[in-house]
Structures are given as structure tokens and as C-alpha cells.
Subunit: 338 residues, 2 copies
Amino acid sequence: MRIGSSIVFNKPRSIWSFASIAGQKEGQGPMKQYFDEIENDPSFGQKNWEKAESTLQSRTLQLAIEKGNLQPFDIDCIVAGDLINQCTGSSFAVRDTKIPFLGVYGACSTMAESLLVAGLLVDGGYSNKSAAVTSSHFSTAERQFRFPLSYGGQRTPTAQWTCTASGAVVLAAEGGAPFVVGGCIGKIVDLGVTDATNMGAAMSPAAADTIMRYLQDTQTQPEDYDAIVTGDLGNIGSELLIDLLLKQGIDISNNHYDCGSMMFDDEKQDTHAGGSGCGCSASILCGYYLPKLQKNQYQKILFAATGALLSAMSSQQGESIPGICHLAELRSQEGIAC
Amino acid sequence: MRIGSSIVFNKPRSIWSFASIAGQKEGQGPMKQYFDEIENDPSFGQKNWEKAESTLQSRTLQLAIEKGNLQPFDIDCIVAGDLINQCTGSSFAVRDTKIPFLGVYGACSTMAESLLVAGLLVDGGYSNKSAAVTSSHFSTAERQFRFPLSYGGQRTPTAQWTCTASGAVVLAAEGGAPFVVGGCIGKIVDLGVTDATNMGAAMSPAAADTIMRYLQDTQTQPEDYDAIVTGDLGNIGSELLIDLLLKQGIDISNNHYDCGSMMFDDEKQDTHAGGSGCGCSASILCGYYLPKLQKNQYQKILFAATGALLSAMSSQQGESIPGICHLAELRSQEGIAC
């Protein structure tokens, strides 16, 4: 069903199983106890960074399938994406699975996008179980978007650190907690920010737009949710988001959390404005928030993943940064009131 | 509904309107009379190729909206993709529309993927009207995947020519002909082809897999369709596809057509093995096949768009080329028997 510009599923759909794997640096931060696995080898046993990221994503998907006591053939479709050119991180990750595959691209918003598309498949009755997966890797992102690692470039104070991490979810037509109940597809908002080392600023207007539309469409208030989770605005983008919404009379300051700000101890770990990469919000969703919903410690959260739809070339050509934010609402119980 | 690994919509969904725009070389080929517009300026009035492609895609989308007597706000969601790194061709094309946006990536299979995802939105009741759009541009693809244009690299006999073209479709819950009735999400098939100048060979096994699954799931035969249209296997991949299916006892040789082979007069236009690029099959779908269905000259066709999920870097790293093929079934009438 459609309400305004938001999507409400015919019934809450089960997050049957989920998994998260993080890299060494992420495994030394404040979230370390929550990930299923921490891999200290940044190359994941492979001979280049791109194969490393595909291995990370493939292992995370396999782990989610295993944790759900499933076999690959139980999954009707994998919806996956990543940040690497032509989304090869995902193509090579799922290549050997023999499972139908939809590639999606939403930059760091990809986990919410893939959750929504998997939700359309399951809620619409086209699939019994579908998976949503994303990953990012510090070293694939650095050399693609910024500088070769060996160059040792200085990072600006507003820069975020691309996480080596992945999250995978198996969505099912029937099953136990937690549940996805619907969400909101993002619009591109571009207020003209051209600084590719300040992506939080570029993405926060899109986050404000999507959160506002969803609250309006569902006639809910920020306090109806245990947490409004963005990812990854980082420290600067998070402040901007709170300000932007306050100007519209919406106060999320009491229950807003950002995966980019949660991932690292920015001072000790020298990560500046926080974490980023589509594996950041995916791994914190699957490592931290979904277990809390499963244990009924949280009842309702909004997962609003944000993406900066730039490329190295669009920045070099002087283009501003289009931001987007896709949102999924997650709950601990099927029958909970709106 | 799901049958086997295929999708059957709850009811045939209307292709409310559609549009195609092609570049100069494409506008000199055998398909020239079918496109809505031919643009002889390869830069589309912009100062670089990437902006040119975004302008092409944006104009094609606008034209589809106009031809449907619609306004942008009538469209609930745009599902779009292209071949440029981080799919910026699409992000910048839809940036100013203020319409919710799902970015997808399936290389040259993207038009079928975006049609299917838009179909999930409309058929599932989450959207009244959604658009599916893709584009490609010879000059953005050459410099990204192959060589700078000014290098003047020699092309191999098996190489295909990336088309400067775009196609856009508006899908609606209710409306007139033609109709989408369902389809099949592709699996990655990779038989180990590593020659990035012979993508037809790399993609044909994926096309065979998807077409075979769909025929099996729907219990239909090749002769039940007026045309089984692939895009873009080119001349070499097309022959391989026919051979691969013949080995499985399926003969599509009488009604198989490939958009890559249709686009150019390969001998006169020096395009070697045919056209490619996700704008190739999109523009031929919207320029040639949809009008034929609308006029009831064709009753049923399969649109099976194929993609090579490689990047310049994956080839440089010695990886083989994962192929994929997504399929949509299109009809001239709502009530036609399966």
C-alpha cells in the first residue's frame, strides 16, 4: 500500500536472519562486541582489495543464510550493492551462489534501498525469502574515490572514514522478529555542496526530507520511535540534520543516532568526522539494532540510510553532490500499534 | 505471484507511455525511423560527455512523461541506471525531478531490471505510476571502460559499439496497451570468458539460463512469442545463444532478434559485432517493439536484456566476466491467453 509518498507493507515481514562482519579497525571501536565476526586480515585472504571486499560480502551473506538454518537455494533473490565502480563488489560476491540477483546502487544508502527492494519482492508475494546485502572496504574506496593508499594523503577534519564492513539480512514472508513494516524511497536533494570531503553536509538535507515525509505520511512523531538511526552522516552531518528538522518544528535530538558516529572512537582512532561506506550502517543495523529489536529492547526504529551520489569524476568536473536517503521502519513485534 | 523462479504480475500492467532518443550514428542506422528523436550533437549542449549522457537520459524521461500527458509529480518513483561509475548518469539525470529514485545496476541488462523493479512497485500496489529509464553514451563508455577517444585505439572484430541512446517507460497500475505481465530475475552465469572485447560470448550463457527458466516456469515454447528479443549480445553472442539453447532442445532461431545486431549496419557503419550499452536495448524497446505491441502488430514478446558485470579494474585484475540477463514479458492485450 502507498500512503503519501511512503510504502506500507501488507503485513509486517520477518527479518528471518541477519549477520555482520567488520574489519580490524571497526573491531577495535565502540561497536566491537556487537559484530558476528571481526576479520583482522584486511585482504580477507585475497590478492587485491576488490576481491577482499567481494569475499567480505560473500561471507556475510553466507553467515546470514547459515544463522537462519537455510541453504542458498532457499533464497529467491539477492538484492545487493556496494561502492566499487560497476558494483563489482557485489557481482563477484554473489557470482557463485546461483541465486537470482538484482544489483542496486544508492552509495551509502544502499542497505536501506536493498531492504526496501527485497521487501517489495517478499511483501508483493513474488518471493518467499530474499536477501539484502551491502559492503564497503576502506582500501577499495580510498583508491577509487580519493588517493592511492601509499600516497599517504592528509584527511580533512570533515572527512569520514570508509568502513571495512558488511551486513546481510534475509527477509521472509512469514517468520519471527524483528519485522520490516514499510518505508520511504528517497528523493535526490542537492543544495550545492561541492566538498567531497564533507559528505555529511551534502547528505543531511536528503535525510531531513525523507524523515519528514515518512513522519508526515504515517502521522507519527519522533518520540514514537526508540531510535531514528541515520547512516552515515557522521558528526557534522548529524548536527546539520537535527538543525534542519528543528527548523521544521521536528525535534529528533533525543533519539537520533548515526551509524557513522557510532562506529569509531573518532578521537582515539583518528577517524575525524566518523565512519561511512555502505557497510557501516549495514553492519551496525545487523550487529546492534536488529538484535535489540529481536530481544524486544527496542520496539520501533527508523533506519534511514543516506548516500552521496557522486563519483570521483563528477567532483573533478565541478559538480555538486546529490544526496539521497532511503528509510525502512523496523519493529520488534508484528502487532504493535502504529 | 511466483512460479518457479519467475514472476507473474497480479494483472497485466500498462505501459502508459514510452520514449526513445538516439545519437547521430544510431540515427543513421537501420532503426533511424523508429526513434522519437535523433540528436546530432553528441555533447547534447553540455561541456563534458558525462553531463551529455545525463541530459540525454533526462530528456528521454521528460519526453515519456510528456507523451503520456503527465506531469513529473504523477510519477511516484523513477527506477534508473546506466554504465558510468557510481551510476552518476542517472543520479544527475533525475536530480532536479523531485521524484523518489531507486538506482539500479545491471550493466546492459538495466532496462529489463528497471522495468521489473518498477513493475514490483506498481503491481504490488506501492505505486500508481513509476518510470524505468536507462541510457548509455559512446564517449562516456569508451573513456571509462576502454581508451581515451583521442587515443584512436583499434577495435577487435568481436567488439561491440556502445550506443548513444536512451529509453524511458512509464508503467501504470491501470491503462492501455502495451502491457508487462511479469518476468524473470537473472542469475549470474560466468563460464570464464576473460576477453572484455567479446562481451557477447560472456553474456550468452546467462541469456540462455534466463530464457530457459522462463519458458519452463510458464510452460511456453519459443513459438508462443512473436519475438524473443535479447539486448545486447551482438552478432557473435546471438549465434552462441541460439546454439546453447539448441543443445537444450529449444529452437529460438526463427524468432530471435538482438537489439545489438539491429542497431547498426555493421559493415557500412564499421561497428564490428553490433551495438551495446544499456541505452541500446532500451531505445529499441521503446522505439521499435513497444509501438508494434501497441498497434497489435505483435501480440507477445520476451524482452531479455543482458549485462556484463565487469569493470575496467576487474578485467585488469584478470577476472572473468560475470554475465546476467533479466527478462520481462510484454503483450499487446490484457486478456490474451498464456
